[in-house]
Symmetry: C2
Subunit: 239 residues, 2 copies
């Protein structure tokens, strides 16, 4: 499931570096977001980004606009991003705080997420078209983020509640297999004198607990069993 | 407060692109993470990254190792990252799931977060030194992330619970100011015939509710008051 639905529009304003345009587009692909708009991109960068090897659909379908109001004309909610410690008339909110609201609005209406240029970020004029301003939490002395990384983090935050990686099931052997390994291990321990009939019960419990503490997958279980079989064979039949 | 404490070590394995080394280091600075280790970086890239304009302390203090086990020797918990859909003996967990555990372990012990090369990611051999493998949630058809963006997202996820951006307080004017604006607005409305004595009470309530629905900051309040004063003056004194 793509998080951001079809209703999220990423707007890059006055971006200079073609690599950053490409990086933003790649992050968008990663998180299933398709609509990229560029406001006054530095022309040679835009040409270079579009024609880069591996440039994907997001870049090919990107639209270029002359101004922020043009680019957000059809958007019900417009969110600006800012790393700088300026004072805006809008209050600045943390990304974590804005994301649920943006996600909710995307259910019903087209919304835009604006990113400013690498050097200056969004201007106060750009921000005056925004309903909300968000900031990614960073340490204060290093608050200026790479543009592509900022885009990636914002989309990740939008995605994190709803997308979960396709994880392999945690295949653990069942208790029957563990009991078999336990018995083989105890027999070996008795055989080599690690434990004896007196300490037997205590050792047995220690081994049982050890095997239960560490979830074992089938591959690990067969490694153990093969190892213990070979040890047993050598012990009985000599080196 | 830096999230990741002094105990998180970012390990880049066999990185090819100097820009990615720089981008990883920049993200580390953003999130207050200082210890970068490189395992067999492509030598020219490493030289270029280190000598780049604006290369920061993280890069200058980075250490180079010959192998993954050397690089994680002092680490209590080692987490690998993987975008690929391979089968590991470790179960692969979502970033959101691993982060709280990693954060908890960082309270007491040094831990490492490993990232593989741009082309192939971490090898199965590299991953065999890891206690856990995490994956960033992406759409399945575009699961390959940019290295710098992957580092940024992982550090953001570690930070997001504990760091909050230095937000400006949401300065709203108090009810006294709202009442003053309300009175001025109603007076103007009566004066221009927008409302009359009959509909007065109804209009008054509408205006009151409108002004309460939209939290107003002091700047906005003075804009309204100045506007209404000027309108009133012109109405009484003519154009």
């Amino acid at each position: 499931v793509a998080i951001t639905s079809d209703k999220l529009i990423v707007v890059l304003v006055a971006t200079r570096n073609p690599l950053n345009i490409g990086a933003a587009a790649r992050a968008m692909s990663n998180f299933g977001c398709r609509h990229l708009r560029l406001v006054r991109p530095y022309e040679p960068s835009w040409v270079e980004a579009k024609s880069a090897v591996g440039a994907d659909d997001v870049l090919h379908e990107a639209e270029v606009f002359d101004s922020v109001p043009d680019a957000v004309k059809d958007c019900g909610w417009v969110v600006g991003t800012s790393g700088a410690e300026r004072t805006f008339s809008q209050s600045v909110r943390g990304l974590q705080d804005v994301a649920p609201e943006l996600r909710a609005r995307l259910q019903t209406s087209t919304s835009a997420l604006l990113f400013g240029s690498e050097k200056t970020g969004l201007s106060n004029d750009d921000l005056s078209y925004c309903q909300a301003v968000l900031r990614i939490p960073t340490v204060q002395e290093h608050s200026s983020m790479n543009l592509g990384q900022a885009v990636a983090i914002c989309l990740y935050e939008l995605a994190r509640e709803v997308m979960h990686p396709a994880v392999e099931p945690n295949r653990q052997v069942d208790s029957g297999v563990l009991a078999r390994i336990e018995r083989m291990l105890i027999e070996t321990m008795l055989e080599i004198g690690y434990t004896d009939e007196k300490r037997h019960t205590h050792t047995e419990r220690e081994v049982r607990e050890y095997l239960r503490r560490h979830a074992m997958n089938p591959m690990e279980a067969s490694m153990w069993m093969k190892f213990l079989r070979k040890v047993g064979w050598r012990l009985r039949n000599g080196g």
